[in-house]
C-alpha cells in the first residue's frame, strides 16, 4: 500500500568504475526512495558518489561502469494500474521508449555543454516533445515548445526559440535544459547539481523555477547538491551521502533541526550564517578518502572530531532515530559516550526554531 506512493525505490545499489588505478567503489550499497510529488535531496561533498548513484536510474552508463548489485524499482500508473519495473533489468531500448523523458527526466550539472551546439533551441525542445508525444502535429509541438520556454521563466520566447545555445548565458541555458526535461511530462525529475556552475543570483532564480514547476506539476524530484543551503530551499527529504554511502536520511526538518551525524553537522555549519557572523567558520577538515581503497570501519572517521575507536574497526549500521530519520554513526549506539552537536550549531538551530515559532 505504502509502495504505491513510492515512485522510486533504490535498494542496496553498488557501483564500481574500473580504472587504471584499480576499481573505484563509487557507490557502496545505497538505498533510498522517492515519494510521489516529493523532493529528495542527495547531499554530500564532491566525489562521494551522488551522481554515480543516480546515473543508473536513467540508464546512463560510462563504459567502465560496473553495477555490482542492487535494484532500482520504478512504479507508475498506467491505465489505472500500478506498474512496477526494475530499471536495472530492462533493455536499453525499453528504457529509451518507455522511461527516458516520459517517466524520468534529467537536468545536468553543466549548462554550457549540455545543449547540442548545432541545433536551435526550439528544435531541441521540440525534439523532446515529439519523442514523448508521438502523435502531435507540428503546430502543436511548436505551441508546446513555446509554452515550455515560458514555463521556465523566459520572456522572449520567440527569439530564444530561434537561437543557438552559444548565444545564451549559462542561466538561460540551464532553464532550457529544464524545459527539455519537462517536455515529456515526466513523473520524476533528476537534477544533478543544476546550480553549481552558476553564480548565487542565478542559482536562486533556477531554484525558484524548479520549485514552482515541481509544485505545479506535482513532480517527484531528486536533487543533488553539496550545499545544504540549497537543500533547505528545495527539499522535502534529505539523504546525506559520504564515500559512496548514505550516512543520514530523514525529512528536511529531521536533518536541519535534529542532525545526528557529525558529517551532517559539518555540512550544516559550513553554510555561512548571515545573521550571526562568527569569528571563524566551522569546517570539516581533511578530504574524502580514496575510493579505490577498501574502507575499514566508518569512512568518515579520519575526519571526524568525534571519532570513536570502533569507527576505525567496524562500519556503523543505520541507527533509527525516528520513523523518518536514520543515521549511520556509532555515536547513536547505546554504548557510545553522549555527544552533543557543536554548540554554535545548536545555537543556530535554536535561533531558527525561534524564528519559526516567532512567526
Amino acid at each position: 500500500m505504502g509502495d504505491e506512493n513510492k515512485i522510486l525505490t533504490v535498494q542496496n545499489l553498488t557501483v564500481d568504475y574500473t580504472t587504471f588505478r584499480g576499481n573505484v567503489h563509487a557507490v557502496r550499497g545505497v538505498s533510498f526512495e522517492v515519494n510521489r510529488g516529493e523532493t529528495l535531496a542527495l547531499v554530500g561533498e564532491s566525489g562521494c558518489g551522488k551522481s554515480a548513484s543516480v546515473k543508473p536510474i536513467i540508464g546512463e552508463d560510462a563504459s567502465n561502469q560496473v553495477i555490482k548489485g542492487g535494484k532500482i524499482i520504478y512504479r507508475w500508473q498506467h491505465q489505472g494500474k500500478l506498474e512496477e519495473i526494475d530499471l536495472l533489468k530492462i533493455t536499453a531500448k525499453e528504457m529509451q521508449r518507455k522511461i527516458k523523458g516520459r517517466q524520468i527526466a534529467m537536468v545536468f550539472q553543466d549548462p554550457m555543454t549540455s545543449l547540442d551546439p548545432t541545433m536551435r533551441i526550439g528544435k531541441q525542445i521540440g525534439e523532446a516533445v515529439a519523442s514523448a508525444h508521438s502523435k502531435l502535429s507540428k503546430k502543436k509541438i511548436d505551441e508546446r515548445v513555446r509554452n515550455l520556454i515560458a514555463t521556465v521563466g523566459i520572456n522572449r520566447v520567440e527569439t530564444v526559440a530561434k537561437q543557438y545555445p552559444h548565444q545564451l548565458s549559462g542561466g538561460m541555458r540551464q532553464r532550457i535544459v529544464i524545459a527539455i526535461a519537462l517536455a515529456g511530462d515526466p513523473q520524476l525529475l533528476i537534477c544533478d547539481e543544476p546550480t553549481t556552475a552558476l553564480d548565487v543570483t542565478i542559482q536562486a532564480r533556477i531554484l525558484d523555477i524548479i520549485k514552482k514547476i515541481q509544485k505545479e506539476r506535482h513532480l517527484s524530484v531528486i536533487f543533488i547538491t553539496h550545499n545544504l543551503g540549497v537543500v533547505a530551499t528545495i527539499a522535502d527529504k534529505v539523504n546525506v551521502m559520504y564515500a559512496g554511502k548514505v550516512i543520514e536520511k530523514g525529512t528536511i526538518e529531521d536533518i536541519f533541526f535534529e542532525p545526528k551525524h557529525p558529517y551532517t553537522w559539518g555540512l550544516l555549519e559550513s553554510v555561512p550564517d548571515v545573521d550571526a557572523p562568527q569569528e571563524a567558520l566551522p569546517m570539516i577538515a581533511g578530504t574524502i578518502p580514496d575510493m579505490t581503497q577498501r574502507i575499514i570501519g566508518d569512512a568518515f572517521a579520519p575526519r571526524n572530531e568525534y571519532a570513536l575507536d570502533i569507527d576505525f574497526v567496524k562500519e556503523p549500521p543505520m541507527f533509527e532515530v525516528s520513523k523518518t530519520h536514520q543515521a549511520a554513526t556509532w555515536l547513536l549506539d547505546k554504548r557510545a559516550p553522549t555527544v552533543q552537536m557543536p554548540r554554535s550549531l545548536q545555537k543556530r538551530i535554536n535561533r531558527m526554531q525561534g524564528e519559526n515559532n516567532g512567526k
Partner: protein, 313 residues
C-alpha cells in the same frame, strides 16, 4: 574605523575596455574608485560578468588599464613600470585564482609551483633556504612536507586552493588579490579556505582584495565591501554598513539570494529581482549616505531606498 591607517592601494577612476571589433569596445570596467588600507580585507561582489576579475587583473597589471590611476604602496603602477617598481609590484602583490585545477601547472610538482616566486625574485637565496621556505608556507596552509613531490591532480580541490595560497604568501606580499577562490569548491571545503585566509591575515597583516559572487562568504572575511555591477561600482561601505543597511536594490537582491539553512524560512523566501540597466548608471553619481557608506544613485532615489529600508526594518 581604521580611518587613520595607511592606504595601500588607491584605485582612482579605473577604466578597462576591451576591443571586440574595429568599432565596438566592451566596457568591462568603467570608472571605478576605491582604496584598500594596509592589513584590510576588501570584498568585491557582483554577479558573473560584472567585471570583478577584470578589476583584479588590471590592478595586478595583467592588463594595461584604459584609464584611471592605480597607486600601490605609494607607487603609480598604472602604466610603464621601471624595473624596480616591477619587482616591487610582482612581489608585494600576489594573486589567488578561481579555478584550483587550472591555476596550478599540472606538469609541475607542488613544491616547484610554490617555489616559483622565489626562483624569480630571490636569486640570492640558496636552494635549501628556498626549500625550507616552501615547507614553512605549506605548514602555514595546513599541509605537510609530503606534498612537495605531489602533482596537482593528486590533490583535492581544497588542498589545491591552499597550495595556491601558499604560492602567494611565500613572497610575503602586502596585498593578495583573491579572485573567487571559493566558487569552484564544495561548501564544506569553502570554509577551510576562508578560515585559512583569515588566519594568515591575522598572522601577517596582509591586505586582501577578496572577489566573490557570494555575499555570505564575503561577509565573513571582509572589513569593507564594494558591490559592482556591469563594470560600475554601485555601493561601498564597511561590512556592517552594507549588510545592515543595503541601499542599492542590486545589493538587496544579492543579499536576498543567499540561501540559509532554515528550511521553513527558505521555502517561503521572497527573492528580489533586479533589472539591469547600464545607461542609468552613467547618469548617476556616487553619494555618501553616512559613515563610509557610498551608493551610486540620484539624491531622490536614495531617499526612496532609505525609506524602503526603514519600512522593512
Amino acid at each position: 574605523m581604521m580611518e587613520n591607517d595607511e592606504i595601500l592601494l588607491d584605485v582612482e577612476g579605473l577604466k578597462q575596455y576591451f576591443p571586440i571589433t574595429h568599432k565596438k569596445v566592451l566596457k568591462a570596467v568603467d570608472d571605478i574608485s576605491f582604496k584598500i588600507r594596509k592589513g584590510e580585507t576588501f570584498g568585491l561582489v557582483g554577479e558573473s560578468g560584472s567585471g570583478k576579475t577584470t578589476i583584479g587583473r588590471a590592478i595586478i597589471r595583467l592588463y594595461e588599464p584604459t584609464g584611471g590611476r592605480i597607486i600601490f604602496d605609494k607607487i603609480d603602477i598604472t602604466h610603464e613600470l621601471t624595473k624596480k617598481n616591477k619587482t616591487i609590484l610582482r612581489t608585494n602583490m600576489q594573486m589567488i585564482f578561481q579555478d584550483p585545477m587550472s591555476s596550478l601547472n599540472p606538469r609541475k610538482k607542488i613544491g616547484d609551483i610554490i617555489k616559483l616566486g622565489l626562483d624569480v625574485h630571490a636569486k640570492e637565496m640558496d636552494e635549501k633556504t628556498k626549500k625550507n621556505e616552501v615547507y614553512h608556507v605549506l605548514k602555514q596552509v595546513g599541509l605537510d612536507g609530503s606534498f612537495v613531490d605531489r602533482y596537482p591532480k593528486e590533490l583535492s580541490g581544497g588542498q589545491r586552493q591552499r597550495v595556491g595560497i601558499a604560492r602567494a604568501i611565500i613572497m610575503h606580499p602586502k596585498l593578495i588579490i583573491a579572485d573567487e577562490p571559493l566558487s569552484a569548491l564544495d561548501v564544506s571545503v569553502q570554509a577551510q579556505v576562508v578560515n585559512l585566509l583569515k588566519q594568515i591575515q591575522k598572522e601577517t597583516g596582509i591586505a586582501i582584495l577578496f572577489i566573490a559572487h557570494d555575499l555570505s562568504m564575503v561577509r565573513y572575511i571582509s572589513d569593507r565591501i564594494a558591490v559592482v555591477h556591469l563594470g560600475h561600482l554601485l555601493e561601498m561601505g564597511t561590512t556592517d554598513e552594507v549588510f545592515k543597511h543595503p541601499m542599492h536594490p542590486y545589493t538587496k537582491s544579492l543579499i536576498s539570494a543567499i540561501p540559509g539553512i532554515n528550511p521553513r524560512l527558505e521555502k517561503k523566501r521572497h527573492r528580489l529581482n533586479y533589472q539591469k540597466n547600464v545607461t542609468a548608471y552613467l547618469q548617476r553619481t556616487t553619494i555618501n549616505v553616512g559613515g563610509t557608506h557610498v551608493v551610486l544613485g540620484h539624491e531622490n532615489e536614495i531617499e526612496a531606498w532609505q525609506e524602503n529600508d526603514s519600512l522593512n526594518e
